[in-house]
């Protein structure tokens, strides 16, 4: 039972991060019907920028909490700019092109960003300085570290904030209108180009925060860290129903929990035939399963192919 609860906590932590990243995928997809393949790479850039800033600032003797705060802000600024640039350079010119075209530019961009990051930060692992207090709460037999607690609470706050933004503000209303029907939204006086740019900026900001969380949770960052995470977050978005914000959150949490429990129990279930080294397979199995049996996802509305 303790193992179960412990894996559940680990899964929720991981799931909160997936959810933040999945939101970026789902918002862009909701409006453009485009899988922003480079999204995982934006997260990686955010994480590496934050690591550099934290290392630098704590080296100058800044107090840890302040250094982390500045690092998160720096990562967000860099990632938002990057997201804006990506949309402008690689996606906007191709909005009317056949669907394959933006998908291929997205793959190309993802390679470019990885290699540029490898040039800037090297191919090694950057470690997250041990600046956060290593305290943890022991509750029954379950251990919750401070980092886990911070990730879960912060992710919940950010997601609540995003829901308010999308549901209550003028920008959010314009975003929803653009997602429903860009042409009509434009007729109603919505500057759809600007709304799309905002979508990328917001998604990239979320990815930056998620990147810092991943780096803090695992203690390291590397130029390849964004790829697999991006893929899993996309899976989470599809699982929840792509284009649906609440769906991305639910999908993220669910995928995190499935993965953690799966990794914890697969050995017992298969008589040690499969070990936890198969953990990365779960996300893909979930993805294929959802797409085959319930392609609209858990909360997705019925998507009809536009003819």
């Amino acid at each position: 039972m303790d193992t179960f609860l412990q894996q559940l906590i680990n899964g929720i932590t991981l799931g909160s991060i997936y959810a933040l990243v999945a939101l970026g995928y789902t918002m862009v997809y909701g409006i453009l019907e485009l899988i922003n393949f480079a999204h995982g790479e934006v997260l990686m850039v955010g994480a590496l920028v934050a690591l550099t800033v934290i290392q630098g600032l704590t080296g100058w003797g800044w107090p840890a909490p302040l250094a982390v705060l500045v690092a998160v802000l720096a990562a967000m600024v860099v990632c938002m700019t990057l997201g804006l640039a990506i949309e402008r350079v690689a996606y906007r010119p191709l909005r009317r092109a056949p669907k394959l075209a933006p998908l291929i530019t997205a793959i190309g961009l993802s390679i470019v960003l990885q290699q540029v990051a490898a040039l800037i930060w090297g191919r090694g692992y950057l470690s997250f300085p041990a600046v956060l207090p290593p305290v943890s709460v022991v509750w029954g037999g379950v251990i919750i570290t401070a980092i886990q607690g911070a990730i879960i609470v912060l992710a919940a706050l950010i997601m609540a904030g995003l829901l308010v933004l999308v549901q209550k503000t003028a920008l959010g209303r314009a975003m929803r209108a653009t997602a429903q029907n860009p042409a009509v939204a434009q007729l109603m006086g919505v500057n759809t180009d600007r709304i799309i740019a905002w979508t990328f900026v917001i998604g990239s900001g979320l990815a930056a925060v998620a990147g810092v969380m991943v780096a803090a949770y695992y203690g390291v960052g590397n130029y390849t860290m964004g790829f697999m995470l991006g893929l899993k977050a996309f899976t989470a978005a599809v699982l929840g129903g792509i284009g649906n914000l609440a769906g991305a959150m639910l999908g993220g949490l669910l995928l995190g929990v499935v993965e953690a429990l799966g990794a914890g129990y697969i050995g017992d279930l298969t008589g040690d035939f499969f070990g936890s080294n198969y953990k990365d397979v779960f996300a893909f199995m979930v993805l294929i399963g959802v797409l085959v049996f319930h392609p609209n996802g858990l909360l997705g509305s019925r998507a009809r192919e536009k003819v």
Binding site: P98, I107, Q115, L231, V238, Y278, M285, L291
Partner: protein
């Protein structure tokens, strides 16, 4: 006339290269031919049927491991070549059907992600299927694979024809060349057959194709299986040539690379795909020399050549889509469509 000249050129090319640049460059030619074969296979899926497959390397892996396990001391099996290559192609094709059956109803971009996931799943399994029963020998891979052998002639040793010495890499060159020529003939025949025209119809408008009475699911499955069998065949040739396979050779990067070849050359056009594959497999070798050049010109190596190679690929993909989405040598139909 032109055909004759091309034939002579292809015949003397390996010997000239060998004499002028050494075995290493003939080896590069061998790999270029292997990539042409792979790109032609992917072209059936992406270029003809319009299905974006981001996990194509999985079929290459299946073919390679099929050869490796059936012709090495690992299980102490030593099948002959004429059985190994079809076995690899067939196994890969059945994996294609296995992947395609549940997923081909999906929209294009979902399919891309699922195929990508499939490629990763295959790699993870190859990496981990060494316990509790050792099937793939895990990350160490399978070594001491039997060399390619046609009847009594082993291609893994030097032969003499009259006074002419034929090194191993040249033997391999001719075997791969035969494979590529067969693939080209097959692709051409397919493209203009009833099936090929059906694929084109599905690529352009699936709903319209279905309402014209085409069985779209089966046709798409066929494209998947066909493309996969090319991949499986190349995998077998690769394993026999290298004498060693490990999961490291079958990463997503490799899938993307093959896709780049198809896209840069010109989806759906055989000459374009061949050009793309040759360019992208020979250019990186030239870039490898860029490390030395940087050393000479700038005093130190500023940009790691392998880094540079991928960076340029990524940039090429983006720029190509923005400036010339139809590729270097486009299929006529696609050019019309994009520059109507």
């Amino acid at each position: 006339m032109l055909l004759g000249a091309a034939a002579v050129l292809l015949l003397v090319l390996p010997f000239v290269t060998d004499a002028a640049l050494g075995h290493g460059w003939v080896r590069i030619l061998d790999f270029a031919l292997l990539y042409v074969l792979l790109a032609l296979g992917l072209n059936i899926v992406v270029g003809y049927a319009g299905l974006l497959d981001l996990g194509y390397v999985a079929f290459f892996a299946v073919g390679a491991y099929c050869y490796a396990l059936l012709a090495s001391p690992h299980f102490d099996l030593h099948w002959p070549l004429w059985a190994l290559l079809p076995a690899g192609a067939l196994l890969a094709a059945s994996f294609g059907v296995l992947l395609g059956t549940p997923t081909l109803g999906l929209r294009g971009d979902y399919l891309a992600i699922v195929t990508l996931g499939f490629g990763e799943i295959i790699r993870i399994f190859l990496n981990n299927l060494n316990t509790p029963v050792n099937i793939t020998n895990g990350p160490q891979g399978v070594s001491l694979i039997d060399p390619l052998r046609i009847g009594p002639w082993s291609l893994g040793q030097v032969h003499h024809l009259g006074g002419l010495e034929i090194p191993i890499v040249v033997n391999i060159y001719f075997l791969f060349l035969v494979g590529v020529l067969l693939a080209i003939v097959l692709s051409r025949r397919l493209e203009h057959s009833r099936i090929g025209r059906a694929w084109a119809a599905i690529r352009e408008d699936e709903v319209a194709a279905a309402s014209m009475g085409l069985h779209t699911r089966n046709l798409k499955l066929l494209a998947f299986a066909m493309g996969a069998s090319f991949g499986g065949l190349s995998g077998g040739l690769f394993a026999g040539f290298q004498g060693f396979v490990s999961p490291e050779s079958f990463t997503l990067q490799e899938s993307v690379m093959i896709l780049c070849m198809v896209v840069l050359g010109g989806m759906g056009n055989i000459a374009g795909v061949v050009l793309g594959a040759v360019l992208l497999s020979v250019l990186p070798e030239a870039l490898r020399a860029a490390g030395g050049l940087q050393q000479d010109l700038l005093g130190r190596v500023w940009v790691d050549p392998s880094n540079l190679r991928l960076l340029l690929f990524g940039l090429a993909l983006v720029l190509m889509m923005l400036l010339r989405p139809e590729g270097l040598l486009p299929a006529r139909a696609r050019q019309r469509e994009l520059h109507g």
